[in-house]
């Protein structure tokens, strides 16, 4: 009953999307302009209906309704509650429904609260949103129906892949999707603006909070995914430039560039073409990413269960949407007049540089990810991995970060070098001292050394915009910028530190044996069995003492799941202010000794604290802008009310 209801509601929502598109398109013509009034309510209703469909699917998973094919293939009655819930989107169909839900809810939200744009631009935006949604509705309803029933209810479900049975599944996909799919709003805004030829500061101001919102979630989602991979895969790696990881990074790079571009357009009426193009590119990258992940075209540890027919469908959607949007861009962009000009040394030009560098990294990641496909078409297999991506992305990232240090203190339009001497000299000095110290004390490899040297300078530089300001009256968006850039410096420090200072210890141990791992003395005390809700495990009791201090007990486990059968290690982490001890229990050897793996990773949590800081910066900026808009609207309302009273 619930499944049929969910499907019915989904069809209704799809029908509403058609209505939204048709009414929106027709309302642009004078003869049928009255249809414009239909579009907003329809968009809101569409969002509500899809949310109901998603709720229905969640219900089916929570109640483990085994008559539904998706539940039977992916869930199990003995699964813990949180994984029944998260398992809703731990599969292709469910995550596709989540995609469509977020898209419709975002569109509905725009329809509900967006009042700053000229109405026809907004209608064009909503029509665009409906147009893109329709393709995904079609995909969902025709090729990936999540509500399909089995002819007979299954006796028991197949269960969820053990690697996914982790709290990370509850957090990482939803945040990532809100980010990915939230960028569709920017896409629709860009398309709407191209259609109505309305690319200006008002457009940028309207688009900015939506971009910020999506970007914040995307940052959080990627950060969470990196941390999840780090602690669950059992080897301490946090980024591998795997095709699926790259698929999430590419929209982020485009969205970061878009964010900055938007601010320039809003403040200075410059970078119009860039902003519109990035608006299109960001969501295009989301769609490309979802294609790469679901079509099976690239080998990846993260890939969904593969089905080439799905790939064909999504490919067709890509061709229509991205091709169409880029065609529109080509046709209309040349008529977008260039905005205000600016000098080489100016805030605008540093942001242009930023854009170019981010797009450079985006291009490199795209080329590197797709390159094996290209060579395979010629019959040769190659692998492109971290040894390529790390140095090549650094080629673009390092100059970009240098400019990031200086850009925020530059004046708009034109600035003089002499004015910012201190702001350049102080961070440069800090970095030079850091570089010297790092080289003399540790002499690590080149990239980690550069990162360790750059990070402190960047941190100092990111706080500089606050110097000389009245801190109580500084607008929130400025704090947002400071914290966001500081987050980059912190993350960079974590990454470089992990690369330079990690120590690994592999040892075959008997209970009672002790090993030295960096500053830690670890003793294996005991190995014993333990049971969980749907798993059993061998658990090691390890006592770890830092530089002779009091011992902490860690419990790394090797878990065995039954439904479906599989093994997974549960690493044990000990987090201190200056790093993490990472402990993994391996196999028992023939001689009865246990294979233990330990890492001491100095400052590695900074990577994810940095990511969280970046997202926090975005949040502050968003709150600041929203607060200002609300104040402005309230003030406008008050003035209008007063005028009305006086006029009477």
């Amino acid at each position: 009953m619930i499944a049929e209801l969910g499907l019915a509601v989904l069809w209704m929502a799809a029908a509403l999307a058609v209505l939204q598109l048709v009414a929106g398109a027709l309302s642009l013509r004078p003869a049928t302009a009255h249809l414009a009034g239909v579009v907003r309510p329809v968009a809101i209703l569409q969002g509500v209906l899809v949310a109901c469909a998603f709720a229905a699917l969640i219900w089916l998973f929570l109640s483990t309704d085994l008559s539904v094919k998706l539940v039977a293939e992916n869930s199990h009655s003995a699964k813990p509650f949180i994984f029944k819930l998260a398992g809703t989107w731990g599969n292709h169909e469910g995550s596709m429904l989540m995609w469509v839900t977020i898209m419709s809810l975002a569109g509905g939200f725009v329809a509900l609260i967006e009042k700053r744009l000229p109405e026809n631009t907004l209608i064009a935006t909503l029509a665009g949103q409906a147009f893109v949604s329709l393709g995904f509705y079609a995909f969902l309803l025709l090729a990936s129906n999540p509500f399909e029933r089995l002819p007979e209810p299954a006796p028991e479900g197949a269960g969820l892949n053990p690697l996914l049975q982790d709290i990370g599944l509850a957090f990482h996909p939803p945040t990532l999707y809100v980010g990915y799919v939230g960028l569709s709003i920017a896409f629709s805004f860009a398309v709407g603006a191209l259609v109505t030829r309305d690319v200006g500061p008002a457009f940028a101001r309207a688009m900015r909070p939506w971009v910020l919102g999506a970007w914040i979630f995307l940052t959080l989602g990627i950060t969470a995914g990196s941390y999840w991979a780090y602690y669950t895969l059992g080897w301490g790696g946090w980024w591998f430039w795997d095709p699926v990881e790259n698929a999430s990074l590419m929209p982020w790079l485009a969205a970061t560039a878009l964010l900055h571009s938007c601010s320039v357009l809003a403040a200075r009426n410059a970078l119009r073409t860039w902003t519109v193009m990035l608006g299109v590119v960001a969501f295009s990258m989301s769609m490309v990413g979802t294609f790469l992940v679901r079509s099976g075209i690239l080998t990846s540890v993260h890939a969904f269960a593969v089905d080439p027919t799905r790939g064909s469908f999504i490919l067709a959607l890509l061709a229509i949407y991205i091709g169409g949007a880029l065609l529109l861009f080509g046709l209309r962009a040349s008529t977008v007049t260039e905005g205000a000009r600016f000098a080489v040394l100016s805030r605008e030009s540093s942001l242009v540089f930023n854009n170019v560098m981010l797009c450079g990294i985006l291009g490199i990641v795209l080329v590197g990810t797709l390159y094996p496909l290209l060579t395979e078409a010629m019959g040769v297999k190659v692998s492109v991995g971290p040894p390529y991506f790390n140095p090549v992305s650094a080629v673009f990232a390092i100059p970009m970060m240098l400019v990031m240090a200086v850009g925020p203190v530059l004046r708009w339009r034109e600035d003089k070098g002499g004015r910012i001497t201190w702001q350049v000299a102080v961070p440069a000095l800090v970095s030079a001292v850091a570089l010297l110290a790092v080289e003399l004390l540790f002499a690590p490899n080149l990239l980690p050394a550069l990162g360790l040297a750059l990070a402190p300078g960047l941190a100092v530089a990111s706080v500089q915009p606050l110097v000389g300001r009245n801190l109580r009256r500084t607008p929130l968006p400025i704090y947002g910028m400071v914290i966001g850039h500081l987050g980059i410096a912190v993350a960079l420090f974590g990454m470089a530190s992990e690369g330079a200072f990690s120590t690994e210890r592999l040892a075959a141990m008997n209970p009672g044996d002790t090993q030295q791992v960096g500053p830690f003395k670890v003793t294996l005390q005991d190995i014993g069995p333990v049971a969980g809700p749907n798993w059993t495990a061998l658990e090691a009791t390890v006592s770890a003492s830092y530089a002779g201090g009091t011992a902490t007990i860690l419990h790394p486990q090797a878990r065995t799941f039954a439904n479906p059968p599989g093994n997974r290690t549960e690493s044990a982490l000990l987090t201190r202010w200056n790093g993490q001890l990472y402990a993994v229990l391996g196999e028992e050897g023939d001689d009865g000794r246990w294979q233990m793996r330990f890492w001491w990773k100095p400052f590695v949590p900074m990577i994810w604290y940095g990511g969280a800081l970046v997202a926090l910066g975005g949040l502050l900026a968003l709150l600041g802008r929203v607060a200002r808009d609300v104040k402005r609207l309230v003030a406008i309302d008050k003035i209008a009310y007063r005028r009305e009273r006086q006029g009477r």
Partner: protein, 184 residues
């Protein structure tokens, strides 16, 4: 303060994104509809067998060494297998058929215990002249084999001539025979 009259936008560059996307589409269409196979072929075809000397994996058969491949002057098959490998069981009848036709087959047992090899041979037959025990996958790595089962055609001079990845099916037998003939 007035700016000079704004000039027209970026010109032909606006078509760049579409052009790049078209290239992407072309690439991806090829990758989707004419996918390359997922197997990793050996790059060592045409090179001489590396020097190795493996202990016997079975009590009934001698171990395997490189020198033996140059003795007979005849092309032979080298079958990389293991008792824990399911497709190896599936290809056992085909190997028996080849052996019956006079093809000489040597085996390399990857990461296998003697008792498990013995059990496997008892249950599925023993077409091998010699079987080497490769506990550390050394020979496997040295000839570019990336999994089990794989079968190599080695000519009379000890040069690797052909690699068949996966189990040998009925329809593969003529091909194997032809490759053996070509290696004369």
């Amino acid at each position: 303060m007035s700016d000079p009259a704004p000039k027209k936008g970026p010109g032909l560059a606006v078509w760049l994104p579409l052009g790049l996307f078209a290239g992407f589409l072309a690439l991806v269409i090829v990758g989707l509809y004419w996918p390359a196979d997922r197997e990793v072929s050996s790059a060592f075809i045409g090179k001489p067998l590396p020097t190795f000397d493996l202990p016997p994996a079975s009590d009934d058969r001698p171990g395997l060494a490189t020198a033996q491949f140059k003795e007979g002057g005849k092309p032979r098959l080298l079958n990389v297998f293991a008792s824990w490998c399911f497709p190896c069981k599936v290809e056992a009848p085909q190997l028996a058929a080849l052996a019956q036709q006079g093809v000489e087959i040597d085996g390399v047992a990857i990461r296998d215990r003697k008792e498990d090899v013995a059990g496997f041979l008892k249950q599925y037959g023993n077409p091998f002249k010699r079987i080497g025990k490769d506990d550390l996958s050394q020979v496997q790595l040295a000839i570019g084999s990336s999994g089990v089962p794989e079968t190599f055609v080695i000519d009379g001079k000890g040069i690797i001539r052909y690699q068949h990845i996966g189990d040998i099916r009925q329809e593969d037998i003529p091909l194997i025979l032809r490759k053996l003939a070509e290696a004369q």
